[in-house]
Amino acid sequence: MRSCLKRVAVSVVLSAVVLILTVLGSAQQTVLTVGVIAGSYWDAPTGNCYAVIDAAIERFEQAHPNVRVEYTSGILKRDYSEWLADQYLLGTEPDVFLVMPEDFGMLAELGALQPLDSLLESDGEVSAADFYDAAVKSGASGGVQYALPYECVPTLMFVNKTLLEAEGIPVPDNDWTWDDFYQICAQVTRDTDGDGVIDQFGSYGYTWRDALAANGAALFDENGTSCLIAQPDCVEAVEFAQKLQALYADCDITARSFDEGHVAFRPFLFSDYRTYQPYPWRIKRYSNFEWDCIQMPGGPSGTGRSELSTVLAAISNRSTQKSLAWELLKELTCSDETQSMLYTDSHGVSALRRVTQSPRTQQILQHDTPGESQLGLELLSDTMEQAVAAPHFRAYDQALLLAESLVTTAMEDDHNLSLQLQRVQRQLNEYLQS
């Protein structure tokens, strides 16, 4: 009777020992897997898209001789979300991986990501204060830090210097405001060749969302439980966008208008700027006018200027090699070598203050920028400091789509905007709470 029980116990212990030995045996060569996106998240053309990652892995493997880091190459941005989701479903997700902003909310809410707060606290080398606020905030959800910023791209205002010069208007300072912006736009929007059709415009592509960011207003609260579009600062921003739009009523402005030099201002991603600025891109695309970048204009109520787009890096909550994964995550997001390579081999901005503000970065940026361009350390650093992070929750993308259509409709209506935005807010709240 007892002997049978004993036999069962002995066999269980034996199999456990065999299992442990197997695990220990394989631990001789630990393998860490990394998930990386092929190419740029912001669709900027790059040379070797794995240059930064490969270098980081090489440094990591040198520091940890028994560890091998592997990644699956060739996963494009458009396939990456699905690939990551599938890996999670199959239980084969990488230990460390890049997280696209649109996926972060879902993964954090599912509990798929390892919370990093305790790791950050216990680690002496790294602190959240090393990063720009908006960047580090993009990796937090519900007050918990789930990811660290790997690469950021802020939005800047692209200025047609040739057009402004022709109108006798100086290029605005970096601390310019909506009033300056509107005044210039109103001034330059006119018919230049006298055919009765307006053919020169103040701006293209400046939306109510840009205005919201500039005014320090948020469309949703952080947890994605309610919409804030009827708040005074939001209404103010939408009113400004409406006012700006009214300048171009009945006009047909396209991206082509800007490319041909008929538009004074256009919001532009930093990555695009970095792509087209150096020779030969510079000549190829915008050959008929001089251009430059400045910060987005500030709104009356906020200190923020633009929304920051951030690709994050995170650790899987189910990773069996959490401490190694943390080391690798630090190598990707917190090491000066890796982060400064973003300026040479990619088109983003490092979220690390000390890297972005370093003389070496300054050198690189100046090397790429000919002439008297304003883009320098100060502009970049200021933009990063004043940027805001978009909220992260699972339904964000869907809610944003709905908000776009509802707010656009409200703006097209001539009636009381504030009241209409209240209706929009109610509709969005209903959506969020359903």
Binding site: M1, C4, L5, E82, L84, L89, N317
Partner: protein
Amino acid sequence: MQKDQSLPLLRQVMLLINLALCAFVSAVFILTPLRAAQRAEGVDFLQKLSGLPAAPWSVSFAAVGFLAFTAIDFLYRSGKLGSGRAAFWLEPGTALLIILALHLDYNGLLLLAVVNLVDSLHGRGRMLFLAAMTSFYLLTSLDVLQSAFGMVSVSEYLAYYDGQPRQLMQTAIGLLSALNLILFIGYMVVLVGRRTEENTAIRRLNGELAKANEKLSVLNIQLKAYAAESERMAETRERNRLAREIHDTLGHALTGITAGADACIQMLDISPDMARKQMELIAQTARAGMNEVRRSVSALRPDALERFRLSEALAKLCSEMQQTSHAEIRLNMQPADMRLSQDEEDAVYRIVQESVTNAIRHGHATEIDVNLTGQARRMLIVVQDNGIGCVKIEQGFGLRHMRERLRLLGGSLQVNGSNGFRIEASIPLRWGDEI
């Protein structure tokens, strides 16, 4: 016979249903993520979930667990695991592990564990077991617990499928769960029914016992009546004995008086002195008879025996008889001192007294030999006279009483009247080995 099979049959069907359900739920947990990944619908699938789905391989714990559950049940049932508490709780423990591996989504396995084990427990142990299992069942039914463990329920997995297949699968799970519950209730009902039948049988046996008791009490009453009856019979016997006693004492004395008076009448003319002496003897005999009667009424024991030992009493009896009747009476007792019980002494005394009286009264004997011999466990009384004897022996009151006395003692009586008169009485002695 069919009844004995119903419980194991229910249990086996329940085991099959649980196997089917666990297999089905496991299949949903394994195949749904695989299918979503294969169709590149991972993001859509994940969007609808409340938590991160477990890796498909983790569900294999449930399969291993179910195998272990079945094996443990078999071993425990066949007694190979012993009867300790640890061996007992192994099965519910495994059930809980399987339930955890299946995301707390199917806890009907606990019902199977109850069905498997409830019969081996009694009294307080069973109450504790059922209470524990009930709390486990309630605990594992809590959705809060599911979300606290970050487990994703099977219905969320099923939400991935389109309308009809989803409904089909939900219906299948619902039906099987309901069937499991119904079988569980059925099992319990049959079990309770079985217990009730046992109780009824016990009550029936109790009833029979009560009936037997009733009969016994009737018998008791009858016995009491019988005792009263036998008391009455004893009374009658006593009356007969009294009559015998009167006959023995009064009859004996009156015989002596009559014989003496006859002699007196004859002697009165020849020698008045002799007659006077004879008269005194008669008077003495009459007084002795008087005393005998008094004693009979009061103590019911021969007076002589009351005052003397048997041998002395017999010697006195013989000498008195010899004096009143002029017959020569020779008493021979071997051994002289026999240890007899009181009723035996009474009987011996009366038999000798009656025999001698009869020899004088009816046989007109002049010589009487009285022999008492004790042999091994038997006393033989032989009284031989030289009287007229008789060809045909008339059974008188005296002879009949002698027989009755002897029968009471288990003895026997033989009489022979061909040569004088001979009486042979044999009494088995209770103290014979001590003679």
